[in-house]
Subunit: 220 residues, 2 copies
DNA sequence: TCGTGTGAATATGTTCACAGCG
DNA sequence: CGCTGTGAACATATTCACACGA
């Protein structure tokens, strides 16, 4: 199987499958069909089959997928099978929320280090991770083998933070700062901008009256 | 101009244009070209022109766009010109971060109410908004004319929260709970799932070795 | 002449329909 | 026979290339 290039959208669905498979494994369901996964995830069965087929044929025709096996496969595809280390930069409200959230759940992506510039925050703990000074960032990230960076600093600090993470060897970055960031080839950057999400949502409400005064004239 | 259906992706770019235009207006740049917007946003000039053209022709050929005018137009398209009210449900760490973030910046999407089930949180303030009991949700949302709901509650409470918001008249929802939610036709739902974002990021690191042991055999 | 506005070409992603195999 | 795996059809989104008008 010459591996086709895999849609980014498909990668985003894998963690959803993983979550559902974990749930089903707890419920001791040994075999699962694409129809059942569709039921639980909200995606279509064809799409699920196609997503899985990108990585090989792990189902049994006429039967379905082995729950435990599929879960392990997806975990491995994502690189979660032996834990990936992430570093959080910025221990403000958002950073704090992210850290609490990630530390309590899933150990598969593990927040291994937290950094902040504020001397008052340095030395405090979030969960059982001690907040360090950003001056230690490069050394710690390199030493701990951190692969993922999470940027939760003000926009004005975002680029320098990204640069430091990249130069310390981080390969993928999740950025929450509302800024256009540059990363070198080979580093994956994902932006989540809460302002954009909120503002674009307004478009779908009745507050947005796009040229409603305009007369629509149809002529063939 | 028979209005074409507008790509969701284009709507997501509008707030970015808005941000850049505000910045340029502060810098008193009266006219802006698609090339300059491209420079500042990271999108391509053609894409920017196409996005703007969906809503009409507000540029001047050979010149560019009037900064202030374009800003007002986009603000109006999004429905932000006279402020849209949002309600936040769930004043945990994430909810708190979102509220602080939204309350400090932009008044265009305004957090008009915050709700939580925890009696210890009810009555406290975030910024100058008092946290209310969720039992008041429907009444307050309806009365205040809230159009947008923000769901930052545990997954187990998410569906009931959405149902309450919808029945109170909310038209668009931003959901942070890791759950598959149902909304009726006509209500727009946007999910942001931080676990998914983090886990899918791992795929783009060297931790993910997708069948690297597999031998690639090419035969025509 | 310059930068907008836009159909046409391309690329990316999803759904359909069915062949293939346990 | 049932459900997976997959090419082909379709839908959506981006990029190209150029006509158009201030």
């Amino acid at each position: 199987m010459r591996r086709p290039k895999i849609p980014e959208a498909a990668i985003k669905r894998l963690p959803v499958y993983l979550r559902v498979l974990e749930e089903m494994q707890e419920q001791e369901v040994p075999i699962v069909s694409s129809a059942e996964l569709a039921e639980r995830t909200g995606f279509s069965p064809e799409q699920i089959r196609k997503d899985l087929a990108y990585f090989g044929a792990f189902g049994t025709r006429g039967v379905g997928y082995d729950t435990a096996l599929l879960r392990r496969r997806i975990s491995r595809i994502l690189g979660l099978h032996q834990g990936v280390k992430a570093a959080l930069v910025g221990a403000g409200h958002l950073g704090y929320a992210l850290a609490r959230y990630s530390l309590s759940k899933h150990k598969d992506v593990q927040i291994a280090a937290i950094f902040d510039v504020d001397p008052l925050k340095v030395g405090t703990r979030i969960g059982d991770v001690v907040v360090r000074s950003v001056s230690e960032l490069e050394q710690v990230v390199r030493q701990e083998g951190v692969k993922i960076g999470i940027v939760a600093v003000p926009a004005s600090e975002a680029q320098r933070t990204v640069d430091a993470l990249v130069s310390a060897g981080v390969e993928a970055i999740l950025n929450f700062a509302p800024a256009k960031l540059k990363v070198p080839e080979g580093v994956f950057l994902q932006n989540i901008d809460l302002t954009i999400e909120l503002q674009s949502l307004a478009y779908y409400t009745s507050a947005s009256q796009v040229e409603e005064d305009e007369v629509r004239v149809e002529q063939p």
